[in-house]
């Protein structure tokens, strides 16, 4: 005879699902942006984002504040992304197409992707967690198991390398408009 779960268990389970749903609503876009930049492909990033929240829904949400939750979700995303990048390096994929963009933008996109991909793995993750996902230094430190000072250092180094690698586009950019907002901005309102 099957024993029905108690009311307490049901309430705990429903709270658990509610937590996972809330995390999904709050961080889905940020996770997708971050994963898109790390793996370089929209289709793979979408698959990985699903996997991230599948894991979030299966694991007990840690008892911490919202920043802690964010760091936890991105830690899962980062681990999955690292696995994906490692697997892809072993089994290279055919180059993907960039949809509906001007050739110049496409070239620039490839240059930016290659420059980011050439960064050391941890520097790249720190940089993308900041630029694409909008995590704070504390959250990045927690997601990457680093100190806040190490996050500052790696962020600085990644930016210096990218400034040099993307020298041409940077010079062109200095002659155009700049904004605190970008289409990839992971800033919280």
């Amino acid at each position: 005879m099957t024993r029905l779960p108690s009311r307490r268990v049901l309430m705990a389970q429903s709270a658990f699902v509610a937590d996972a749903e809330l995390l999904f609503t709050q961080h889905r876009q940020g996770v997708l942006r971050y994963l898109s930049r790390v793996v370089g492909r929209a289709d793979a990033a979408q698959d990985l984002t699903q996997e991230v929240f599948l894991r979030v829904s299966r694991a007990p949400v840690p008892e911490t504040d919202s920043a802690g939750h964010r760091a936890w979700v991105f830690k899962i995303a980062r681990n999955l992304a690292l696995n994906h990048v490692r697997d892809t390096a072993r089994r290279p994929e055919a180059p993907a197409m960039v949809e509906a963009v001007q050739p110049a933008t496409q070239e620039l996109g490839v240059a930016v992707r290659e420059a980011i991909a050439a960064l050391p793995a941890v520097d790249r993750d720190v940089f993308l967690l900041r630029e694409s996902a909008g995590l704070s230094y504390d959250e990045i430190a927690e997601a990457c198991d680093l100190s806040v000072e190490a996050v500052r250092g790696r962020l600085r180094r990644a930016r210096e390398v990218l400034r040099q690698t993307l020298d041409g586009p940077m010079r062109a950019g200095r002659r155009g408009y700049v904004s605190l907002r970008t289409s990839d901005s992971g800033e919280q309102p």
């Binding site: 055919a94 993907a96 620039l108 704070s136 990218l162 586009p169 200095r174 904004s179 970008t182």
Partner: protein, 129 residues
């Protein structure tokens, strides 16, 4: 110089910075240049398109590999099946062989009957020379 950059970087990363430190950093040419560079870099990274592949070569390659595997499986099944069927039908069977030997095809019905009788000479000499 590094201090200016630290302050600019922290400010653009939405980390708390001292107002006076930010003022000093932006009063310095290097600080202003770094401020602009970080915004340009942020724009480059944020606006760069991500490769999308709804009909990616990977998918097409996956499909072709699947079809190749299916075709190979069909050929293998066909070849093995044909070989086994051939072995079964070609196997010599004693009873069937005996039956074939024993069967004699029936003679067709006669259309003309010639009777041979004693005393009748068949060397006719009538007519001709």
């Amino acid at each position: 110089m590094t201090d200016h950059r630290d302050v600019v970087e922290a400010f653009l990363d939405r980390e708390p910075v001292e107002a006076a430190a930010l003022e000093r950093a932006l009063a310095h040419a290097d600080g202003r240049e770094y401020f602009i560079d970080l915004l340009v870099l942020r724009g480059l990274v944020g606006n760069a398109p991500v490769a999308a592949a709804p009909s990616s070569p990977r998918l097409r390659r996956g499909h072709s590999v699947w079809w190749l595997a299916a075709a190979a499986a069909l050929v293998a099944v066909g070849t093995t099946g044909g070989y086994l069927a051939g072995r079964v039908t070609d196997r010599p069977s004693g009873s069937s062989r005996v039956e074939q030997v024993g069967i004699t095809p029936a003679a067709p019905a006669p259309t003309h009957v010639i009777r041979l009788e004693n005393g009748v000479t068949w060397n006719e000499k009538s007519g001709g020379n």
